[in-house]
């Protein structure tokens, strides 16, 4: 990024001072190195978000920010319930895309001899890739129940354990969902997609805890060096994509009647109190429930497969976070608690220690923040910090973030070579698409370790553990 676009305020804080139509300052949290690699478009998008009505305090970007649609991916913005707007672009197409990490009660030695079998079993039981269909078939009424009930619905239907819900954001069910605001097209698109992983950067990964940075938090999360964990990265599938597509258009078309001047059509939004805003909230929250139910169903499938393969395996949910959402939260603004609509587009909620919404086991150390890396370099578990609330409404990064387009990646790497070189390092990859593997090659992403370090240095969340990939089923 061109340094002239920002002013440095400390090692990890970069200010875009309010000017022109901006209503608040913009703030990017990143190390100097990450800033150097960040596209100028991120600054432009942070500035554009700062012009939206009712924005409170600032327009923020996380250390993994990159050029998105309207909002930067890695963007965080909160809006006043009376004056503010809600933006379909500020949530994104993959509503409630997120990461769920599970403990297994196994250590690396337990599975060293059977990695190939596990890879095959997971590849078999988790539908992944373009056009894959799930085993769960839903009639329209069943789908409405799912959209209202989220992971709670899934557990009621026999997918997973009741205990899983306590370790899912919103206790597994997003309140305020209104399935009647979800179009028939969106429902039709989801009919065969429940219990599927999707494609692109979505994955299911068996991981080993490589290094623990914060012993107390790791103990609270129930993880130790050498432990085997499983992480799932996926979202609300076709239903969320269709809701995003339809509301983006409605918001673009209705913006003039609400007097909204959009610096970029992709920033399409509506006043929170308007009929379109309320309709989107009902549909978007249904999308969140769809994603929570989907990850719950996938949990059930992999739990069955894993516990059949290894008699010692006991799959327990560590936590489930969503990183494309808009949620109503209470935050301190100018010393007073205020109800706000917080958009996180490619950013994770990161509640600090003591937050009443956390399960009691984690309350002393803060919320687990699950950061997906690449299939070659690993992932991180962070914990929400005390300072994150004041910095960016208790938010942190969400992943490594691409530094190379898909097209460029396919010019650099061939899928088969990527699979072979990772196998050489002891990482087994299973995918139906070699071109997909090339597009997702580890080298196409930023260094996730640098992102996690910058997130800690900025005070957004602190590092708890680093995870190394062992088996990866790619969508």
């Amino acid at each position: 990024m061109d340094r002239k676009l920002v002013k440095q305020r400390g090692d990890t804080t970069w200010l875009i001072e309010r000017s022109g139509k901006m209503r608040v300052d913009g703030v990017i949290y990143a190390s100097a190195d990450l800033m150097a690699g960040m596209d100028d478009k991120v600054a432009e998008q942070v500035r554009n978000v700062a012009t939206l009505p009712g924005i409170v305090k600032g327009s923020f970007a996380m250390p993994d920010a990159h050029w998105g649609y309207g909002f930067a991916i890695g963007g965080v913005a909160a809006f006043d319930p009376e004056e503010g707007v809600i933006s379909a672009g500020g949530v994104g197409f993959d509503i409630s895309c997120g990461v769920r990490t599970l403990r297994t009660a196994l250590v690396a030695d337990d599975i060293a001899h059977m990695k190939g079998d596990i890879a095959e079993a997971l590849f078999e039981c988790i539908p992944a890739g373009v056009g894959s269909t799930g085993k769960v078939r839903l009639q329209k009424t069943g789908l409405d129940d799912l959209l209202a009930g989220g992971a709670v619905w899934a557990v009621d239907e026999g997918y997973g354990l009741r205990e899983d819900l306590r370790f899912t954001e919103e206790d597994g069910r997003m309140a305020g969902a209104d399935p009647s605001q979800v179009s028939d097209h969106a429902k039709e698109r989801q009919k065969n997609e429940m219990g599927t992983l999707g494609s692109g950067n979505h994955y299911l990964e068996v991981q080993q805890v490589l290094e623990v940075y914060d012993a107390a938090a790791a103990e609270a999360f129930g993880i130790h060096e050498g432990d085997i964990l499983i992480s799932i990265h996926c979202g609300s599938r076709g239903l969320g994509h269709q809701i995003g597509t339809e509301f983006l258009k409605r918001m673009v078309q209705t913006a003039p009647q609400y007097g909204l001047e959009l610096p970029d059509r992709e920033l399409a939004c509506s006043p929170i109190k308007s009929p379109v805003g309320q309709s989107y909230l009902g549909a978007m929250r249904s999308g969140i429930n769809c994603a929570l139910a989907n990850r719950q169903i996938l949990t059930h499938l992999l739990r069955e497969a894993f516990e059949t393969l290894h008699r010692k395996a006991d799959i327990r949910l560590l936590y489930d976070v969503s990183h494309n959402t808009c949620k109503v939260e209470e935050h301190a603004v100018d010393g007073r608690s205020k109800r706000l609509f917080v958009h996180r587009k490619g950013a994770t909620r990161a509640w600090g220690p003591g937050h009443p919404g956390l399960p009691k086991e984690y309350r002393a150390v803060g919320q687990p923040v699950l950061i997906g890396g690449t299939m070659g370099t690993g992932s991180f578990i962070l914990a929400g910090s005390e300072t994150s609330e004041a910095l960016a409404f208790s938010s942190a990064c969400h992943g490594a973030g691409r530094n190379m387009s898909r097209r460029e990646a396919t010019k650099h790497w061939r899928g088969r070579d990527v699979v072979k070189s990772l196998e050489h390092k002891g990482i087994l990859i299973r995918s139906r698409s070699m071109r997909g593997i090339a597009e997702e090659a580890p080298g196409a992403y930023k260094d996730v370790a640098a992102v996690a370090e910058a997130t800690e240095n900025a005070g957004l969340a602190r590092r708890v553990a680093r995870l190394a990939p062992l088996i990866c089923v790619k969508g």
Partner: protein
């Protein structure tokens, strides 16, 4: 003629043609090329698509999103397109086949067409129809 253009996280699709109709059809081929090589897909089954919008740029996004929807619910991939735009109405036929990951070597599904770098314009004697798609 179609091409892809750079976007850091995703990919831009651009159709170029002698007419607006051709640019829209080529943009659709560029969309398929995000998923797999269009040449691998046998255009054996036809699907009719109709859309209406008085803003040509929004109509392009509508057209691509209609294809994304049809691909998702029919489990198909399209490789041949015929588009007719008259006034604000688009009438089109897309021909394709059932998606087969092994046969078509599919890389990634497209979640939606976006308004990012969206442009429908006549440049010299050619029409261009383009936008970024989210994958």
């Amino acid at each position: 003629m179609w091409e892809h253009f750079h976007h850091q996280a995703d990919i831009g699709v651009r159709g170029i043609g002698e007419t607006l109709d051709e640019a829209f059809a080529e943009a659709a081929r560029a969309l398929t090329a995000v998923i797999c090589s269009p040449d691998k897909v046998d255009p054996r089954q036809a699907v009719e698509i109709r859309r209406q919008c008085d803003d040509m740029e929004l109509l392009l996004v509508d057209w691509l999103n209609a294809l994304i929807y049809e691909m998702a619910v029919r489990g198909m991939i399209f490789s041949r397109f015929e588009v007719h735009i008259k006034g604000d109405a688009l009438t089109a036929t897309a021909w394709g086949d059932k998606a087969d990951p092994e046969l078509h070597e599919t890389a990634v599904e497209v979640k939606g067409a976006t308004y990012t770098q969206l442009k429908v314009a006549q440049k010299e004697d050619k029409w261009i129809a383009q936008c970024v798609v989210d994958v």
